[in-house]
Symmetry: C2
Subunit: 404 residues, 2 copies
């Protein structure tokens, strides 16, 4: 008699964004006349850049002709894209990454969920709290997190690193020693970053205790301040302790196009075993490559026109971020983020819980945000707004919030 | 100190097709004047159908305009595609599948590798021998297969169901009781099928012993004979015991475009728990949907023009299959497959092992095939040729083989 993976049943309730979707649907059905503004899910709204569109059309035409048709892609990604990545995302920052240290995938969500597979089930993870829920959830499914304690919203076998007002929204080195450390900078959901010197401390710590850092840099393109690292490999020694995950979703609007990549340096080893080989084996066995047309589109992001156009998109969103940030500040909210990230993190007013504020904002301002508690127990009492809406909607949403 | 997933190290050597690729590269470098014909990997060669190309261009244009741009797709797939699938792949065969029983993905390889995750690590799997290596390898990585015994090429905790000349290339009900049964019909690599009555016996058996069947129907479009089921749900009771995996790779040439889907009926349960909910949870947590443009292209496969054009492609490949099959028969080989599948399965001559015949064919005829032993121990002494080459190359390859 077959049995299921009981770890799945431990996951409390449904996934954060599904719950939000359900609440919004129910509100819309009950209030069909209200115009909802969604500043909740981190989904982009600007269309793909012209350079990307051109590349897609050209690639589609290649798929239409016998002599240029592409079947199975190389499991780990086309060389043309991997070379472009090493040159543009790393060499320009003084970092040398070999093309065979880059693994092209269908996105950072898959990679950040799947990367735990190459580690022992008894490894202990440490996560920022609050953070993107996929890190913890994928480890729950693998049976790595112990039991859930609903009263405190924590797993018994996870090390939580609180990132609250008290810690300036940055994690502190954990007292208990972890095996795998998930870091996400610029952080989702708090929008905060740490300096290169601060990140160096994490790299030194990981190398010292033999931990591996899973570094999610999906929002790297939004960094505006000096001295904030764009890649963890700017830090000395990172290649022996860190895996970096990157996305095309937020810098080039690929949320519905799907492309990402992960860097696993060959220096990163457990004894004699290179993690690079393990991840290559996983890609080769469980994945059949990202589509050719998508990889061609990804390469176009790095063309001169592509760079210019996607930088304009980022500037558009960051203008929204400024509107949200300054609007909330002027309305008396306590706010962080929104400077090096498209996320604005606010303290809920009047002692409301995160979900109470969600309902309040939905009902009174018809604005959808994301409850901070959905990202971890230390997110309780906070709320996330995103800069990915249209300029007009962002402006209107903030006007409505100001009037509350 | 982090530890790796030691199960990965149990995997013997590298993945079958990587090894073939390496051997071919080495031969080509040593013999740059020789024209290699590849009838090895099951990759298509015809360009995408015009109806699919048109749909791709239209979808790309939608991604270029603010009012039609698509961000994150629904995790489980767009309704337009899921409805088209239920109508065309199931209703036409008298089978009712609800749209929320269909999970759209980036391909059958991912799904067939990932599906084991929702089951307990102590479940015992049964596989056809030989078969597509991903079923076993993904279970090795999960720690479900025991130890590998190189002398016999088997895992201690896997039930092998030999599919050889002696069993007419069909599996027999196993003596030892499995929890999870992988079936692939039309089979990769043998090209054989079983009748609806025979498949019904498997469904009855699974329901009786409480096993789940993972039914890989990636080659369904190549079925030419009556009485061969196109979906396992043609069998009575299949919805309480079977998951079906489908692909767009072989019926519509999507190997480099990436699209597939998996059906998990809501009647399929373990106690009160629907496997449908578990798979939905996995999709929602570890996958961010197939790209919109790809799903639009998938829907075009089912348009009137799309159906006609892809059927012509299948006819083209099946003409190749006939050329290979008849050519080999006339050259004195013992051959099966090639009637309901694009794969031709031959016995290696003169007692050669599969890899000896691989080298022999590569060196003497400059033709690349796939060693049967790469698909499981009972594949030893067999060899796979595929019909996915061009007509001209297929003809030439068979002429070369005939002359040996």
């Amino acid at each position: 008699m077959f049995k299921i993976n009981e770890n799945y049943l431990k996951l409390p309730g449904s996934y954060l964004f599904s719950t939000i979707g359900k609440k919004v649907r129910e509100f819309t059905e009950a209030n069909p006349d209200k115009k909802i503004i969604r500043l909740g899910i981190g989904d982009v709204t600007l269309p793909l850049a012209p350079a990307v569109i051109d590349a897609l059309h050209i690639a589609v035409e290649e798929m239409a002709r016998k002599d240029t048709f592409k079947g199975y892609a190389p499991d780990l990604g086309y060389d043309f894209l991997r070379q472009t990545i090493t040159e543009n995302d790393y060499r320009t920052r003084g970092v040398t990454i070999a093309t065979d240290e880059i693994f092209v995938s269908d996105g950072a969500k898959s990679d950040s969920a799947n990367i735990q597979e190459i580690f022992d089930v008894n490894n202990k993870i440490a996560v920022c709290d609050p953070v993107y829920p996929v890190y913890v959830d994928s480890n729950v499914m693998a049976g790595r997190t112990g039991e859930y304690i609903p009263e405190i919203g924590k797993w018994t076998n996870v090390i939580y690193m609180p990132c609250t007002k008290e810690t300036n929204f940055a994690p502190e080195l954990p007292k208990e020693q972890p095996d795998i450390i998930y870091l996400c900078f610029p952080n989702n959901p708090t929008g905060s970053t740490i300096t290169k010197d601060e990140l160096q401390k994490w790299v030194d710590y990981a190398n010292k205790v033999g931990a591996v850092i899973i570094y999610d840099a999906a929002y790297e393109a939004y960094i505006s301040e000096e001295n904030v690292p764009h890649t963890i490999y700017e830090c000395e020694g990172a290649k022996t302790c860190a895996i970096e995950i990157r996305s095309f979703s937020k810098n080039a609007g690929f949320t519905g196009t799907r492309l990402g990549y992960t860097v696993v340096p060959k220096e990163l080893k457990s004894g004699d075993v290179m993690l690079n080989s393990l991840w290559a084996r996983r890609h080769g066995t469980k994945f059949n490559g990202a589509p050719y047309i998508t990889q061609a589109a990804g390469a176009a992001v790095y063309s001169e026109a592509g760079k210019k156009q996607t930088m304009e998109q980022i500037a558009y969103y960051m203008k929204n971020a400024t509107i949200i940030r300054e609007g909330l500040l002027s309305a008396g909210y306590t706010v962080s983020g929104g400077v090096n990230a498209p996320y604005i993190w606010l303290e809920t007013p009047k002692g409301m819980t995160s979900w109470q504020f969600f309902d309040y904002l939905l009902e009174k301002a018809n604005v959808v945000g994301t409850p901070g508690s959905g990202f971890g127990p230390s997110g309780e009492g906070y709320f996330r707004l995103t800069a990915f809406g249209t300029y007009e909607n962002t402006l209107e949403a903030i006007e409505r919030i100001k009037k509350l």
